[in-house]
């Protein structure tokens, strides 16, 4: 086969790849990437608000109203989700990379990760959102 023949090259196979029916590992990877991007976006905002301290405590304190708003609390729940999932999933991948023999327990490790993630997330979300219902 020569490379000069007419072929159909998909523009972005990664997008078509989202239709691929992977198992838990693929969903964990997708969520790992999405939460990674989310954490980077949060860090950009966070670096900006910390940077405002340079203009004095008044400027910074005035900005804090943002973090007290109801929608900011909901965003914090998303942040908790992103950071917690990314950390736990990253830890699982490190464990599997260092002990390849665990390949057989890939699915179980993901469910174990979820068993740790779900209660901590629900508890954290409750703490974050509780003031909204007082």
């Amino acid at each position: 086969m020569t490379s000069s023949r007419t072929v159909y090259r998909r523009g972005r196979p990664i997008l078509e790849g989202l239709r691929y029916r992977g198992r838990e590992g693929m969903f964990a990877w997708l969520l790992h990437r999405a939460t990674g991007v989310g954490i980077v976006l949060f860090l950009l905002v966070h670096i900006f608000d910390i940077f405002l301290i340079g203009f004095g405590p008044d400027v910074f304190n005035k900005l804090l109203f943002l973090y007290k708003a109801w929608w900011a609390r909901i965003l914090e729940v998303f942040l908790l989700f992103g950071v917690l999932f990314h950390a736990l999933n990253g830890a699982r991948i490190i464990v599997q990379d260092f002990w390849p023999r665990l390949w057989r327990y890939e699915r179980q490790l993901i469910w174990a990760e979820m068993a740790i993630f779900i209660p901590i997330f629900l508890w954290g979300a409750y703490v974050f959102l509780q003031p909204l219902f007082r």
Binding site: V7, R10, I14, E16, D97, W99, E106
Partner: protein
């Protein structure tokens, strides 16, 4: 029983982009997806194009996406995929026609890891290079690869970067790296330690699930990662 095959079609001479076409075929539940494709090609539409050779899961030429997952059409029974089956070419390689993809980039990656025994030392006593059962067992799993590309084209890292060496090439490198008779490990590990080598693997496990030979692909990749890591630290 009546089955509907929804197949991705593409003819480079007439089509700008792929499209789907449906065919109805009468099959026994214990028939394979390949039998359905054959029935369509032989009795309904002779223009349908796909690869198949041995038709018994050994040659690895009929890897395709069946209901969204990579598999060999000759190893999947229609009763396991339901009355409506969607069939598409494997992802990440250019489509030549219908379900036939250009395997050249795949085999280029395979060749890059020197998939042959490297040993310039003369064999002991001028005879065979003997191995113990344990030494042979060390790489037994990765000898089973049939180069069907089901693993490589199920890998999101490969979809994102066609220069990634891919699971199949790493599996075949593993087969020689852990062979006690081979002396080319350093050369292979250098290729696999590059920007397009094993570190693009994110332990997703799609490859292990897709392998029709049930090779523990992600485990093999993990062992190659460790070989690189420990070799560098000594």
């Amino acid at each position: 029983m009546r089955y509907v095959f929804r197949i991705q079609r593409f003819n480079p001479e007439t089509d700008k982009a792929p499209y789907y076409k449906e065919y109805e075929v009468e099959l026994e539940p214990t028939d394979r997806v390949l039998d359905g494709l054959n029935q369509i090609k032989w009795n309904i539409d002779g223009t349908l194009t796909y690869r198949r050779s041995c038709a018994h899961g050994v040659c690895g030429s009929d890897a395709m996406r069946i209901n969204g997952t990579n598999a060999l059409a000759c190893k999947v029974l229609v009763r396991d995929v339901g009355p409506k089956v969607t069939i598409e070419p494997i992802l990440g390689l250019p489509v030549i026609r219908d379900l036939v993809v250009d395997m050249d980039p795949f085999f280029e990656q395979y060749r890059s890891i020197s998939p042959f025994l490297i040993n310039d030392e003369p064999p002991p006593h001028g005879r065979e290079r003997l191995q113990s059962i344990e030494e042979r067992e060390r790489y037994d799993d990765t000898t089973k690869c049939i180069l069907c590309a089901a693993c490589t084209t199920s890998c999101p890292s490969f979809w994102a970067n066609e220069n990634y060496v891919g699971p199949a090439a790493i599996v075949n490198a593993h087969r020689f790296i852990f062979d006690s008779r081979d002396r080319g490990a350093a050369r292979r590990l250098e290729v696999l330690n590059s920007r397009t080598g094993v570190w693009r693997c994110h332990t997703i496990y799609n490859c292990t699930v897709a392998c029709p030979r049930e090779i523990q692909v992600t485990k093999a990749i993990g062992e190659v990662k460790q070989a690189i890591l420990y070799r560098q630290s000594t």
